[in-house]
């Protein structure tokens, strides 16, 4: 040992005294997590509002004067970018990652709390820069969330002046923030676990977050570099991504660049990004399902390997987003093959979730409802992904609403179902109060059924050939009247689903203000985070001594044991068995 294990020493923890030190410039991972979550949910609500505005235009074209074609494109772009980066990535890793990692692996804090604090403040700056683009001349960029050049920086695209520059700057700042946080998460999980917490005893949540963070650290560089190059194209007039272009009869001052290069760089980041969002969700949903089915997760080892293999494969499938961009057919063959291979570990996970429920003692609590809802939405989104992974099927369906429906099911709705499951599940730990069950169930059914009302018809629109991102369809001969009716129905469903999210907001506010205090560990969870001396945990998490872990995180309904779960830190000799009950060995 070349260093002192500071995890075991309380003396190094600097307890802040003032309000500002405790809650604003806080280095406590739990406060940082809440800061991250509140900011992410706030921008998420803005993105939700943008999606409603966008749907209003699609459902009722021409009825709303303030939704100009430019504004519509800006709504589409900002909705996508905010949801993927500033809500999902930030909430899953910055929010839940920060809160759960130290508690689940049994440390007092992240290994570098100061860097962790900086991570949040950089994230906040990136959000402010992004939001400021709403207030500059020309507004935010309307290039679509993929920001494909050359159109994203050419006059004619909304926000081609300052909007795109602010977007790229904001992304660069976000990546700096993510790197600072991500280095902390990986190092904490690798090096600062408590006694007995071996890698193969970690809850799957931690495995998901760990793998997703590593993906982020290796994938975000591609986005950072492409953002820098496009920033130079937009501001200095370089031609990294700009070919020779004649615009309105005038040749532009660019030549010799490669727009396809941007697409490759973007998707080299963009595809791992799907799993940066999905893997933490996979992990958390595994834990929620296991707890609320009172049964150990089925095939823990396979679940871990599936997460790791999905993470590895996600780096060699990126060009399946680019089948229509044109590429050597052999590359199409390669990327189609790798894409379909990734379905194997993913299917293993789905089977294991279902088998976890099999013969379980299923409690239909609100988190459980959302978790089961996730299995449905994810399966649907995943199956349409199998279609799109094939080149010949993708070519006609690409850039239609089928693609929109597919990726919203698989990486929009599904991670959000898990996020809600996680919010309802861990809310008593974070706040000491339990969200109202009735309102929660109302929220679930509205969201779950509503998303199907939105996205199932969208698949059909895609088969009809209705293109995505179009401002209005007009009188296009191949699009039947029924498509327009369907678009109206989808918009109405979208508005209803958006309103149902207000139920959640109201539930949170009401619970925080006047909800009853929750009992300690209301769901009967075995993993470490619910077994701190104080609930909600205080700075330093573990009081005088770190816990020692004796088992995996999934000892539920152990035959013969008196309690239906055995916490991770309980030693075998301390487990109470019923008289004559069968003794069980280690969980593994």
């Amino acid at each position: 040992m070349t260093h002192i294990a500071i995890a075991d020493q309380t003396a190094h923890l600097h307890h802040p005294k003032t309000f500002i030190g405790k809650y604003i410039w806080s280095q406590d991972h739990k406060v940082i997590a809440i800061q991250y979550s509140v900011t992410a949910i706030f921008v998420g609500l803005i993105a939700l509002l943008l999606s409603v505005l966008m749907r209003l235009q699609l459902g009722f074209p021409g009825q709303f004067n303030f939704i100009t074609p430019d504004a519509y494109l800006q709504f589409v772009t900002m909705h996508g970018m905010i949801m993927v980066i500033y809500l999902l990535t930030a909430l899953l890793l910055g929010g839940f990652g920060n809160y759960l990692i130290p508690l689940m692996v049994g440390t007092r804090d992240m290994v570098f709390p100061y860097l962790n604090m900086l991570s949040y403040w950089f994230y906040l700056v990136s959000v402010i820069v992004l939001m400021s683009s709403f207030f500059v001349t020309g507004g935010p960029t309307g290039a679509g969330w993929t920001l494909y050049p050359p159109q994203s920086i050419l006059a004619g695209t909304p926000g081609a002046g300052s909007g795109i520059v602010l977007m790229l700057l904001s992304l660069a700042i976000f990546i700096v923030a993510f790197t600072m946080g991500g280095l902390n998460y990986v190092t904490t999980i690798f090096q600062a676990r408590t006694r007995g917490m071996t890698l193969m005893r970690m809850p799957l949540t931690i495995w998901g977050i760990l793998t997703a963070t590593i993906l982020g650290l290796l994938a975000f560089p591609a986005l950072l570099v492409s953002a820098i190059m496009m920033l130079f194209d937009a501001t200095l007039g370089t031609s990294f991504f700009m070919p020779a272009i004649v615009s309105l009869g005038e040749p532009l001052n660019h030549e010799g660049g490669s727009p396809i290069l941007f697409q490759h760089l973007f998707w080299f980041f963009g595809h791992p990004e799907v799993y940066i969002v999905a893997l933490p969700a996979f992990g958390m949903v595994s834990d929620v399902l296991s707890v609320h089915a009172r049964k150990n997760i089925f095939g823990y080892r396979m679940m871990v390997w599936a997460i790791v293999i999905i993470g590895g494969l996600s780096f060699i499938v990126w060009a399946h987003h680019m089948y229509v961009s044109g590429m050597n057919p052999y590359f199409g063959f390669f990327f189609a093959t790798t894409t379909l291979i990734i379905a194997v570990p993913t299917a293993i996970k789905v089977y294991n979730w279902v088998l976890t429920l099999w013969k379980g003692n299923i409690h239909l609590t609100v988190p459980m409802l959302f978790a089961i809802g996730f299995i449905f939405t994810f399966t649907h989104g995943g199956l349409s992904g199998l279609f799109l992974g094939n080149v010949v099927v993708d070519l006609p369906l690409s850039d239609t609403f089928f693609v929109v429906a597919h990726f919203h099911m698989v990486m929009g709705v599904s991670p959000i179902m898990v996020l809600f499951a996680a919010l309802y599940h861990w809310f008593p730990l974070v706040s000491g109060k339990q969200l109202h069950t009735g309102l929660g169930k109302l929220h679930f059914w509205g969201t779950f059924l509503g998303t199907y009302a939105i996205y199932l018809p969208m698949h059909y629109l895609g088969f009809l050939g209705v293109p995505r991102r179009y401002y209005a369809l007009g009188d296009t001969s191949f699009i039947p009247e029924s498509a327009h009716v369907l678009n109206e129905d989808i918009t109405i469903a979208a508005i209803i689903v958006a309103l149902f999210q207000l139920v959640f907001v109201a539930n949170v506010i009401w619970t925080l203000r006047s909800g009853p205090r929750s009992v300690r560990n209301p769901w009967g969870v075995a993993s470490l985070e619910w077994h701190t001396p104080d609930v909600p945990p205080v700075h330093g998490n573990w009081g005088d001594a770190l816990p020692t872990v004796h088992r995996w995180a999934y000892d539920y309904s152990v035959p013969g044991a008196k309690q239906d779960f055995i916490p991770q830190h309980v030693a075998e000799e301390d487990v109470e068995y019923e008289a004559g009950g069968r003794r069980s060995g280690e969980g593994e």
């Binding site: 070349t2 190092t187 560089p221 591609a222 130079f232 007039g237 370089t238 990294f240 010799g256 660049g257």
Partner: protein, 225 residues
Amino acid sequence: MASTPAVNTKSSYWQSLVTDWGADREVFKLSWGKLMMWIFLLSDTFIFSVFLIGYMNVRMSATDSWPLTSEVFALHVGGADIPLLLIAIMTFILITSSGTMAMAVNCAYQRNKAATFKLMIATAILGASFVGMQAFEWSKLILDEGVRPWANPMGAAQFGSAFFMITGFHGMHVSIGVIYLTVVAIKVLRGHYDEKGFQIVEITGLYWHFVDLVWVFIFAFFYLW
């Protein structure tokens, strides 16, 4: 159990590998700071790889001819153009600085603070002179040759764009490294690490060697190709 059947060897090998790797509290026998620097450098490797791949791609897609680097980067010394002279000197300086850095790490573990300080400052000075020569190279290209990020009288505009972007990003890394080295060197001298141990010198060294290594690749792919 020595009599384990041979059939099982393969799976037990992998299982014991995983168990050994995962069973400890720490996956790597490294301190937190050192591991974090390694992971950061891995991430940074991807950044520079993408920069170089992007450069190679625009070099392929550029419609104008690519300038001959041996002519562009030649110095006129004693009545003759010597190709790549300045770059050769810069590369030599940077690699020398890696040597002084390695010596500084060695002295730090021997707890020889004065020698560590001197060697780290020497490394920083070598690094600063590298950045200075880069500034000279930039000004020569901009003022004498008329190369701009967006235009290049000698051929493809992407030559200037990629050159300023990549060497600029690398020069920024060297400059940050010079500041980092100076701060750590002063802290070493003031006895800041007497109790904590001098591993920070090695961590700083990791960063410095990485910046040198990246330069070797930039040198090979941009200047020699």
